[in-house]
Structure formats: structure tokens, C-alpha cells
Symmetry: C2
Subunit: 181 residues, 2 copies
């Protein structure tokens, strides 16, 4: 996944780049062999929600790769011009066609190998008329005992759901910070 | 700041890009007019610490632009291959030459106009022998009444310090989530 981001040409002039450690730096960067522009590559945020209706949680079945056909919480890459919470709300609308009231930040999970940080907010569903977008096959509510644990798309989704049900049982929701591989 | 990231050439083939909304998307992206590669631009994380020695906090005076000569908490862009906490620790070593024991996540502040999310951790200084790197003019400990509020480099630094002293006075440290312009 990290490899896919490799930069072969300069975004400013189109010249060929070379990976080297710039004079004032300590990491390899794609540096343009023509104009000298330095290209930085950094982790990205994935933002989403745990949408809840009573004691049920909303999951979406993925209509896209990776993990086509598997279940996920609504989430996606944070975009420029929005906050983490706004991005999480947008993804919930886009992927599930669901209306939610946003609640607190619930999990922040580093996925180092993917170069990602996953942030999930708790959210209260305002109704159960879902209208999934093109990235979703179906959106469905699950009681805890119905969660398809073996068909979840991502480990951060599994961990966040585990945290959610544990906190719910304990009667208090906290913030869960963790690292994955 | 967002403008500076504009992508004029394709990173894969070097061809000219054009900003348009791809068929399966709803935002303008830099799309290569030659090979069709779509280039995404997303917010970046800035990670840092609030390094504490007794009732003093460590600040660094910036030796680089922007905000040359102003004071900041040690912080910088999160890099690939590290967690948010590892990045915050690395920046503390690089900018202040300080040894710290990392503590909990303390603030998460969206800076929408800059396309950034700032994350600060509390950290306990293990000694007070600082060895600032080239990005720092000097590193200095401040009691609360000595903080140079008018010479702080960034609003997220000011807000995080305000939260820190308020929580300390209250006897309990929480997580502070907020948005800035």
C-alpha cells in the first residue's frame, strides 16, 4: 500500500525524481532531478462512525475493493476543507445514506503498515431509512450477537466494535487509542 | 498553504494534469491528461508533545519559517512508518534534544484552513539537559506565569497550553478535541 504512493515524477515540472536524503533532512524523499522540488509522503487519516440505533449498530457491506463483500463501519479518507468529525459524518452519508447525530471521538488507531490513522466517532442514527451509495452493497443493523466478526473488512473496525460493546456493557464510553501492526 | 500543494504533473508518468471531477467521485482531483492517474490531496497530521518538568513546560524558539523566532511546543509532520506517539516523541528529540516519557493523548485540533490535524501528547521530561536541533534557536522551561503568550507560533500551541494549565489546576487531564478556523 505504501509502495503504490511512490513518486516517479515531479508534481511541479514533471521531471524525473530520485529518492535521496536532502541536505537538511534525515529521510529519503522523492527529489526532482530537474527543479529540485522535494516531495513529502505522510500518513493519511481515515475517518468514520459507529452509527447506533437502540442496541443495534449499522454496518455497510463493501461494493469496492479492497475487501469487496465484507462488512465495515462507514469510513473513508479525510478530505481537505473538513474536520475529522465532518469527514466522518460525510462518509456516513455517502456510504450508508444514513442521518446521524455526531457524538464523541471514540477510537484513534494507528495502522503503521498502511500509513494510516483511523478515527471513529460514536453517532446516533436519527432514523433507519438507509440509502447506501455506490460503494456499498447493503447497509444493515446488527445486534451484538449478530455481528459478522469473521466477515469484517478491517481490523480497526473489529477493534472499534469490540471497544464499543465493552464500553456499553460497562456503562461508560471512553476514548480508545491503539496501534495495529 | 493548501495552494502550495497543487499538482501540475502526474507522479507516475510526468504528464500534465487537469483538475476535474472523476466519474466515480464528487470532488476536483488532479487527473493526468496522459495516463489518467488520479492524485488525491488530503489533510496531514502534525504531532507533538507538552514536555513537563515539575511545574514547568518546555518550549522551543523556532529557527525556521514560518514564525521564525516565535515559541512553540515541539511538533512536526507525522512520517510514514511511525505511530502518532512515535512521531511526537521523535519531534521532541529532534527539536528540543529532550528525553521524555510519553503520556496520554492530550489534544486533537483540526486546522481546516491549513489542511492539518494537530495532535499533542503529554510527556514527562527525564532530565533538563536539552540539545536543540537545527530547527530550534533555544529550548527553555517556563512556569505558567512566564509563558510568552504573545510570542507563540501557532494557535494550536496556545490552545493546548491553555488546556494544560486549566486541567492541571483542576487536578485531572482529559482529551481536548477542537476545531480552529
Amino acid at each position: 500500500m505504501l509502495e503504490a504512493r511512490r513518486i516517479k515524477h515531479c508534481r511541479v515540472c514533471g521531471g524525473a525524481t530520485q529518492y535521496l536524503i536532502p541536505a537538511d533532512d534525515n529521510r529519503h524523499r522523492a527529489v526532482c532531478t530537474v527543479c529540485g522540488e522535494v516531495h513529502y509522503e505522510n500518513p493519511l487519516n481515515v475517518v468514520g462512525t459507529v452509527p447506533v440505533w437502540g442496541d443495534q449498530v449499522l454496518l455497510c457491506r463493501r461494493n469496492i475493493e479492497p475487501r469487496y463483500g465484507m462488512w465495515t463501519l462507514p469510513a473513508g479518507f479525510m478530505e481537505l476543507g473538513e474536520t475529522t468529525a465532518e469527514g466522518a459524518l460525510r462518509e456516513t452519508v455517502e456510504e450508508a445514506g444514513a442521518r446521524v447525530e455526531m457524538q464523541g471521538l471514540f477510537s484513534m488507531l494507528n495502522v503503521v503498515r498502511a500509513g494510516q490513522v483511523h478515527l471513529f466517532y460514536r453517532a446516533r442514527l436519527e432514523d433507519i431509512n438507509f440509502d447506501p451509495g455506490p460503494e456499498t452493497i447493503e447497509a444493515q443493523l446488527f445486534h451484538e450477537h449478530q455481528i459478522p466478526w469473521e466477515q469484517l473488512a478491517f481490523r480497526t473496525v473489529r477493534d472499534t466494535l469490540k471497544f464499543y460493546f465493552a464500553d456499553r456493557a460497562a456503562g461508560q464510553f471512553g476514548l480508545h487509542v491503539g496501534d495495529i501492526g
